[in-house]
Symmetry: C2
């Protein structure tokens, strides 16, 4: 088995590590934040925008892509050519989307049965079909299909879902046909430490290229999420990348990197952008507020992104007030730049051996701005 | 009075002319198509996109901009800095928007009274206020406020509106305070040749920097529009730019350039793009049609735009089917490139002295594709 993950620096004051993961479409410098492009597009942004903000890896979603444009298209052209993105792509398996669905879906040992929002027909997403679909998509990193549950579920439910996730992980490994596409397993077990230990022990016996921590950011409180993250990261082998799925806010990332997590994804920077909220060095800013309409200053004077270099708060306010899509696009670019610059800073801090001090200062600054009225949008 | 318009070539077989018009923000090469950015934004596109498609001049709208963001903002920063566009900007006066309004608006000798869609209050847009607003906006070319009517109105109504437009044109001239901003008058007179002659004779006695042909593309048939365009262009002085407002389709532009028209604007390329329709060298293409979803070819194999170089019809189809705004943006860039490349070709044909032959071939090709099923969307 190939081991494409390399650790180049570790932090003396924390578990943070600096590394890189080699994929068929280039090297990923870790820790990294992956930009969410669910439907083979990061809403409103083209590949030039993504390069400009410093995106390394895009995340697509098997569930959405199997429904539209469908597997036939991906058998002709992979996702890289389809969306004209030459860098690495990770595909999520669809497990989380099926968990999030309201309405017509049932979970079986074979897989998840659900009704398509595109053609209203019933589909079965099995571990094997998810791998077949991800193979056709041609992502650089594939994820096993897992059974997600609410993190407030009782222990019996949590155990049953974890055990099914383990069986599905073995079926996913068996279904894999492409050696050039990495395959990551997903540790489950909710917020029960013993189950997390059991899950990690089981999955790390198998030849996966990396391990994800799943089932967080689904109803859990921040302190609980931090505890489970710290515990789970410690249980995972040092020589494989650790991916914390669906997390999170900047403080979440700073904390998790200190626990030795290498990869993240979250819709927050783009989702909040489309709702008119910007992350800035002095807290969150809602650009639709009247005071933004009167300000000719940039969104964030400390930010080097193209939006802050070119446009004022009053212009962004104007675009949002007019319902003009350029506003959301400019804010998406800013928010992604904010996240990706944070990751670049973190990588530099680990290289310099000063991650623990950097993280402490960063968390204190974010906390200070949130309490000073920047607030949470 | 300065005469910043220079004619550098004329076509022996038509009235087409090649020129340039010097503004405070650079030279406009004519004939030119101006990109519509009504609310200080060309929907979805940033200045880099606009430069990429070859945009020379943007068109903003006084009516919309006075309501939002309002004159106070423009007294602080002009439109160039506001939207980060360093090239020429033309502002329409608001006359056409008030004509197009349904609901609460009345026309008076003082100006147009209407209810704001932003704050529901009554506003009066007078010729003087329109100039004051355009002066604050800082556009390079200002338009006089005119009274627009349906081109199917009776002759008495058409004459009354034309005469008011003349009085308003004189008031606009008197209200002008900035010599660095050009001011264009608007010839009216509906589809009545005698009125068009009277209007042109009156207005061309005044020291305007250019003359527009207004009141077309508002209910008139193509043949009638072509006749009035030919007549009006001939009535306008050779040494000033001629601007045909709100027109039109590619054949409209090709015809009007042959009549000696120098400037155009139209929402069609961007409006159709947001509806999923592309102009191509082989006719219009509706990208939401199922056959586009199965095609890995570019929108237009003969097109050199970034959209055609980077993306397939199936990707554009996918984006539109998902309601993803990147689809409209990529199609807008393509359609604007299509228009702007047509204008560049026309300028080259005039320079080469072969406009008449080029235009004949171009119109025949468009006609052929439209009848071959490319069709009108």
């Amino acid at each position: 088995m190939r081991l494409p993950f390399e650790i180049t620096a570790t932090d003396p004051g924390s578990r943070a590590r600096r590394g890189s993961f080699l994929t068929a479409h280039g090297r990923i410098e870790t820790p990294t934040f992956m930009t969410v492009g669910t439907r083979a597009t990061v809403t409103g942004l083209d590949p030039a925008d993504l390069r400009e903000v410093g995106a390394q890896v895009l995340l697509g979603n098997t569930y959405h892509l199997m429904l539209r444009p469908g597997i036939e298209l991906f058998r002709r052209v992979g996702i890289h050519r389809f969306m004209n993105w030459s860098g690495p792509v990770l595909t999520d398996s669809g497990g989380y989307q099926i968990f999030s669905m309201t309405g017509d879906r049932t979970m079986h040992e074979r897989g998840a049965r659900f009704r398509s929002y595109v053609d209203q027909r019933m589909h079965l997403l099995s571990p094997e079909l998810s791998i077949e679909m991800q193979t056709a998509i041609g992502s650089d990193i594939m994820m096993v299909l897992d059974e997600c549950i609410d993190s407030t579920s009782d222990e019996a439910t949590t155990r049953a879902a974890m055990e099914r996730t383990h069986r599905w992980a073995l079926r996913s490994l068996a279904a894999r046909t492409s050696e050039s596409q990495a395959l990551f397993a997903i540790v489950q077990g909710g917020v029960v430490p013993a189950l997390r230990e059991e899950s990690a022990a089981f999955l790390t016996q198998q030849p996966f290229d990396g391990f994800a921590i799943g089932g967080l950011a689904v109803g859990d409180a921040r302190a609980q999420r931090e505890d489970v993250t710290a515990l789970s990261a410690e249980l995972l082998p040092r020589d494989r990348p650790r991916y914390l799925m669906g997390v999170g806010t900047p403080p979440d990332l700073v904390h998790a990197m200190g626990c030795g997590v290498d990869m993240f994804d979250c819709v927050l920077p783009t989702l909040l952008a489309w709702q008119g909220t910007a992350f800035t060095s002095t807290g969150r800013v809602k650009v639709t507020r009247a005071e933004c309409g009167r300000s000719d200053a940039p969104l964030d004077a400390a930010c080097a992104c193209a939006t802050c270099k070119q446009f004022s708060r009053s212009y962004l306010h104007h675009l949002f007030k007019c319902g003009e899509p350029l506003g959301s696009r400019l804010l998406s670019k800013h928010n992604l730049h904010h996240y990706l610059a944070l990751m670049a800073e973190a990588r530099a801090a680990i290289e310099a051996g000063g991650y623990a001090a950097w993280a402490k200062e960063k968390l204190a600054a974010i906390d200070r701005h949130e309490h000073a009225g920047g607030g949470r949008a």
